[in-house]
Symmetry: C2
Subunit: 250 residues, 2 copies
């Protein structure tokens, strides 16, 4: 029981197509139209759907709102600003949570979207159980139809999708072993010691901690540790390839 | 330190305008363009911005990506699908959390968006610290530029806005007092008792509980309770306005 998106008296075919695309981007496909201004089908819808044509082919057209929501159990009226009606106003995010709860009970939610120019009439909103509002910049609240639809669909999909918040990409085998990292630290330390880098001597311990911290923190892979050792070796050579003379250690 | 939205080699002026509108819908206004295909300004951008023209007027144009991100501290490359690069991939939602954390430290995030046709090149992504992915339907992942931008801006705004998940709208003074509600329950009970509604008698207590539950649950206001008492009174009259004879109670 995925939510139905119901466009009430939509004006432009292009917007109907963009809503279809936005819905299918987020796995929704129950598109319904109430009295579309220019009839249906509308030739401008297909190009705007950019591949979500199936939703347009399967869209159902209704003469009025009550018939469009007849098989739905919870109806949300999307408006940018809450109206003065005594209805519960929920965010798109919270409506998504509720829609999945309804789905779990075998019940269907409907999201109503009004005409582009002025949005839903108060009479339309009266048919809804709740008002769905998308919080926007109060200084610039004119959210277009496709944008409102994509945000509602996106929020719904957040509860389907299991993408982790953050994950390291690439086929890298994870961070290097501590042994490999210690090999790098020891290599660098030996070359720097040979060059009398750790001065003054009372700062040497802190300087070594700083370097170790910088090399540990990024979680370099084995390959990256090998790369860094190659860089250290390269830097220890003269530009023409002859090794620099090492100072004898004290 | 609001995030900058950086359009890398954008193709259509209309899309630049739609991104500006999406940004300002959610309170963002630092728009930057890297080598826009058709130069800048672009006459198609203004109408699509639908009132967010200030962002277009103030948009900064850069010849290349490094100069566009020079003053930024964290760079996100938006792509629909994670690439095989060893970079952390974060969701738009998580990037919004991080952007606010950066802001709290006086640091600026940048969101990179690629050209409409093919998205960011691998070379562009290499300049980014993290890959930002918007989880979408794997069967239909072609999210357009303005839609990707509105979702990123929306997520950022969720941490600015304080709209509650759900709130009852309207100037209604809250639910009726229990005394008023009990008045309604008593009124209805008396009229129903007079009409011998509570049958069979061993079910009467349960029937009364059911009615009380139905009247308590909605949280009717004082005005709504008065309305319901008027309805009960009306129903107790003959259609032509003459009161029905009441049965004498046993």
């Amino acid at each position: 029981m995925k939510p139905a998106f119901i466009l009430v008296r939509p004006q432009l075919g292009e917007n109907i197509g963009m809503v279809a695309r936005a819905m299918w981007n987020f796995g929704l496909d129950d598109l319904r139209l109430v009295a579309p201004r220019d009839g249906w089908p509308n030739p401008a819808a297909g190009p705007a759907a950019s591949g979500a044509d199936r939703l347009l082919d399967e869209a159902r057209v209704f003469p009025d709102l009550p018939s469009a929501i007849a098989d739905c159990h919870r109806v949300y009226a999307t408006t940018v600003r809450p109206r003065g009606m005594m209805k519960e106003t929920v965010t798109a995010r919270f409506a998504a949570v509720q829609s999945h709860e309804l789905d779990a009970q075998g019940l269907r939610a409907a999201y109503l979207f009004g005409p582009e120019r002025a949005g839903l009439e108060t009479e339309d909103v009266a048919h809804a159980d709740q008002i769905l509002t998308i919080p926007v910049n109060p200084d610039f609240s004119s959210l277009n139809l496709a944008q409102a639809a994509v945000l509602c669909a996106y929020e719904w999909f957040q509860h389907v999708d299991e993408t982790p918040d953050a994950i390291l990409g690439g086929d890298h085998g994870g961070p290097a072993s501590r042994e490999a990292l210690d090999g790098l630290v020891g290599h660098l330390d030996a070359e720097l010691t040979a060059r009398n880098y750790f001065r003054p001597s009372h700062r040497a311990a802190v300087m070594r901690q700083t370097l170790r911290g910088m090399l540990q923190r990024p979680g370099f892979t084995e390959q990256e540790v090998r790369t860094l050792r190659g860089v250290v070796r390269a830097l220890c050579q003269l530009p023409n390839g002859i090794a620099l003379p090492r100072r004898s250690r004290d």
